[in-house]
Amino acid sequence: MARTLVIIPAYNEEATIVSVIENIHASVPDCDIVVVDDGSRDDTASLVCQHGGAELLSLPFNLGIGGGMQTGYKYALRNGYDVAIQCDADGQHPAEEIPRLVARIEDGSADVVIGSRYVADSDYHPSFLRRVGKSILSRWIDLFIGGGITDTTSGFRAMNRQAITIVARNYPEDYPEPEVLVILHKHGLKVIEIPVQMHPRQGGVTSIRPHGAAYYMIKVGLAIVIDIFRRYAPVGVKQ
């Protein structure tokens, strides 16, 4: 099996972090786990240390989800991992689905595989407003990257070495998931999605507040257009 790393960004996730690590080890025994502690003020870091089942990267202060994820991808790049999976620390992302994501990377069907909540056999039912918002966002992204992805905000993803190299270099700061798709598309990578059953959140709070939704839409919508025209430093990747 390819050297696989599961990246778990964590900010104040003491309620769930240990069970998330244990679930991953149970489902994917031969992968490494790295927890990126994004300046938590609770016991997240010490719980990870005590548990010992995961490596711990401690950011000196809170960078936000984008900066935290990027730290994990830099770690994956420097330590020579072939596949990196990003997985939430709140237990929503099903560890038992990780092997399916990795399998699609390993058989070469794509550079990036997204665990999607929308594809036919999933039963994720977000609120009406959330559905409308996400649908507008997905249409907007379709316009630029040619479609095929319905769940653009899913943070449950697997990436191959080439994708890791790109995101370690360029990672958007806040609400990064949709933008990352555009960046990967610009670098000519192939992204597919497969349906997964998400678990309900087990603890902690969502980073997207309801009144922030409008800001979210505008920020991400604009950022995507900018990403299309942005100049990126060339990334030396062997195919």
């Binding site: 711990l56 000196p60 960078l63 770690y75």
Partner: protein, 131 residues
């Protein structure tokens, strides 16, 4: 002639005194900030220049008229609009500087996390090949 200059600009004596006081206080504040290392000399020069401009206009109001003539401004309003645009540009430059700094700040924080992890691994005796 000189009095006419002042009238044209529309400065009364009280305006001039006010402008002088503001410029002097501003200059003092800027110098004090530099002295306490709260402000870099590079940026201080800019603000000292602005304060000096205020002083000059306070002492010689016709400088504004002279300046407008040199640059061919028909109306003094253009002079004020130009100053405003200059300040706008300055703020833009500063937000660019802040963006760059926050990017470097993020990179450094990430590097600290990665290096301190590597250091503790090395202390534990796990030596890895890390490019």
């Amino acid at each position: 002639m000189e009095e006419r200059g002042a009238e044209v600009v529309g400065f009364y004596l009280s305006h001039r005194i006010g402008l002088l006081c503001i410029s002097l206080v501003f200059m003092g504040v800027v110098l004090e900030l530099v002295r306490r290392s709260h402000l870099k000399e590079r940026y201080a020069l800019l603000w000292l220049g602005a304060a000096l401009g205020g002083l000059i206009v306070g002492v010689f109001p016709q400088a504004v008229v002279w300046f407008s003539n040199v640059f061919g401004f028909q109306y003094l309003t253009v002079f004020y609009i130009t100053s405003f645009l200059f300040l706008l540009l300055l703020v833009l430059v500063f937000t660019v500087v802040i963006s760059k700094l926050s990017e470097r700040n993020r990179d450094l924080a990430q590097e600290v996390a990665l290096l301190s992890h590597r250091l503790s691994r090395l202390e534990e005796g796990h030596v890895r090949d890390d490019p």
